[in-house]
């Protein structure tokens, strides 16, 4: 750690990991409800569990992004953070707001929560991933703006590198596109159309800038490859990501009432979306192969390479699988979508946040890298979680293909629930893979507490 103010990243990372654990516990509950339908009913109905599962994911990734920015920006700009105090205040505001929201989901009926939080003034709730009550949404905006102010002011007074510029652009885009969550017209088609301005332009747009910037930063640090080389490839990759991803939004507009030309525009551009992910993988491996130093933090290198591969598989390959309109006609809204969603989020965003945590956390704790023992355990957690996620995806894909066949393609289509009963075996296997994932996550937690001879701080 070169700058004192980088230390504010630590609570953000800890909170991120804590919420990650919560997310997975609720995932396991939902997975079980898929096969034991009345599990925890009526205490935690599926829709509540799902809301907690997805909202925790978003919030912990945001914690991760913010922590990453607080760690990365001082080092890139070569100056202390504009206001570490503001960063700490925002941390507590965000954590308390997030916790209150989740408690609200769990202990207050959703309709009551909506009424109590001003949903009658401005109805924004009850839409997938944007279930947060109005005060929480406003809180997110306030925290995001104050955070961006802090980061932007730091950038203004320091060195401006490509990595920090791209990161900042991604973070600003994140805040700006979130504003569409306040637009909820009565017209269902328009509601859905602009809802994707948040969801798609986040995960297949501005978040990719954040992802690429974080990955580039860690690669510079662990490989010692020239900044010039890494930064120009960073630009090329994010160019490809946005060139394909922006119009690629069209792959969500096939069946929601939008004009039918989106089937062409969406198919063509989203068919090209795997290219930037493939480029990112090749780039990551190339840089590691051309490394000029052996960084003692092997675990961070593993996570960085894993991010490239899994993002390509999850977002690129599994996305392509069902992105063409004629295929999507049958797969839209089935377990195929769930399969893609799981691996893409894990491969791209979960893994990149863990990459930066894995790299930065030992430094924040005053050493270049963790002890050999701790790293071995962390690598075990990498393989457990990653392989478990591959199997979750494969089982959901199998369930999805069967579902499509029985319920959509067949001449005598089954009803939804009849088809669900037919694929229960795959849901059971998915749940067991989820248990392995959870074991991997616990292993990851344990790796933070393993003692052993730590590597000294690199100069």
């Amino acid at each position: 750690m070169q700058y004192k103010s980088q230390a504010v990243a630590m609570p953000y990372f800890i909170a991120a990991i804590g919420l990650f654990v919560g997310q997975i516990i609720f995932g396991l509950i939902m997975g079980l409800q898929y096969v034991v339908g009345d599990f925890l009913f009526p205490e935690i109905p599926f829709n509540v569990a799902r809301m907690v599962h997805t909202n925790l994911l978003i919030v912990w990734l945001l914690f991760g992004f913010m922590g990453a920015a607080y760690y990365l920006v001082p080092e890139e700009t070569e100056t202390e953070l504009y206001s570490p105090k503001l960063a700490l205040i925002l941390f507590w505001v965000f954590l308390v707001a997030g916790a209150l929201t989740v408690l609200g989901y769990l202990f207050v009926p959703y309709a009551t929560l909506a009424q109590a939080t001003g949903n009658d003034l401005l109805a924004t709730m009850g839409r997938e991933f944007l279930e947060q009550p109005l005060p929480t949404k406003l809180g997110i905006v306030v925290v995001a703006l104050a955070f961006l102010f802090n980061i932007s002011m730091t950038m203004l007074k320091g060195r401006k590198t490509a990595i920090s510029m791209v990161l900042l652009l991604g973070l600003w885009g994140l805040a700006i596109f979130f504003l569409f969550s306040f637009y909820n017209p009565h017209n269902l088609v328009k509601d859905k159309f602009y809802w994707w301005f948040v969801v798609h332009l986040w995960v297949e747009g501005v978040w990719e800038l954040i992802l690429a910037a974080l990955l580039a930063f860690v690669l510079i640090k662990v490989t010692g490859v020239d900044r010039e080389v890494i930064e120009k490839w960073l630009y090329v990759i994010i160019t490809l990501a946005l060139v394909t991803g922006i119009i690629g939004t069209g792959h969500h507009y096939y069946w929601i009432g939008a004009p039918e030309y989106w089937q062409w525009w969406g198919s063509i551009f989203s068919a090209l979306e795997p290219i930037p992910f493939f480029a990112m993988t090749v780039f990551a491996f190339n840089m590691v192969n051309r490394r000029r130093r052996e960084h003692p933090n092997k675990a961070a290198v593993l996570w960085a390479l894993g991010t490239g591969v899994m993002a390509f598989l999850g977002a690129g390959v599994w996305g392509f699988l069902h992105t063409l309109a004629p295929v999507n006609f049958y797969t839209h809204g089935t377990q195929i979508t769930a399969a893609h969603g799981h691996m893409a989020f894990y491969g791209a965003y979960v893994m990149v946040v863990i990459t930066i945590i894995s790299y930065a956390m030992p430094l924040l704790r005053g050493r270049a890298a963790n002890s050999e023992k701790a790293q071995v355990l962390e690598m075990w957690s990498f393989w457990l979680m990653t392989i478990a996620m591959v199997f979750i995806t494969l089982f959901l894909t199998a369930a999805g293909i069967l579902q499509v066949w029985l319920q959509r393609v067949s001449d005598t289509p089954m009803s939804f629930m009849t088809a669900q009963d037919q694929v229960a075996l795959f849901y059971w296997m998915r749940e067991w893979a989820g248990v392995v994932f959870f074991i991997g996550l616990l292993t990851y937690l344990a790796s933070f507490f393993v003692k052993g001879e730590a590597k000294a701080v690199a100069s």
Partner: protein, 141 residues
């Protein structure tokens, strides 16, 4: 073969390309807004439908069901539930929840009034009349 590969040029192309494709996207969005009146069934956006949409949202129906294929995949698609089941079945179904059948997926009872049920049904009817390019493939959703 040799050549130049400069960071400044890569940066310019990134900014130029991003602005270019974002403007192209906005052009398509503009055209979509012009076409939507012919497809989105807005002429049937009555006060009941609007009230029904709010009930749909404040009961977090999307947390289990899908609507036009979007949402969760835990419970049936409801974009075409109106033609599939009809209004009376939908209301009776909601009033009889939860089934309590052991081991089966359970839907909460939301204790909706008759008026609220009618509004919700109006919303589902409106949704089913949106031009979705013939999706879903069959009535089972």
């Amino acid at each position: 073969m040799s050549g130049i590969f400069s960071k400044a040029m890569a940066r310019n192309i990134f900014y130029g390309g991003t602005v270019f494709f974002f403007l192209l996207f906005l052009a398509l969005v503009y055209d979509t807004e012009r076409e939507l009146p012919t497809r989105d069934n807005r002429q049937n956006l009555s006060a009941e439908v609007i009230a029904g949409k709010k009930i749909w949202e404040t009961r977090n129906c999307i947390g289990c069901h899908s609507l036009l294929g979007e949402g969760a995949y835990f419970a049936p698609e409801l974009g075409n539930v109106y033609p599939r089941r009809g209004p009376e079945f939908i209301k009776a179904w909601m009033q009889s929840q939860p089934t309590g059948a052991p081991g089966r997926r359970q839907m909460p009872n939301f204790h909706l009034s008759d008026e609220e049920l009618d509004n919700l049904v109006a919303f589902l009817k409106y949704s089913s009349e949106i031009n979705t390019a013939n999706w879903p493939p069959n009535i089972e959703g």
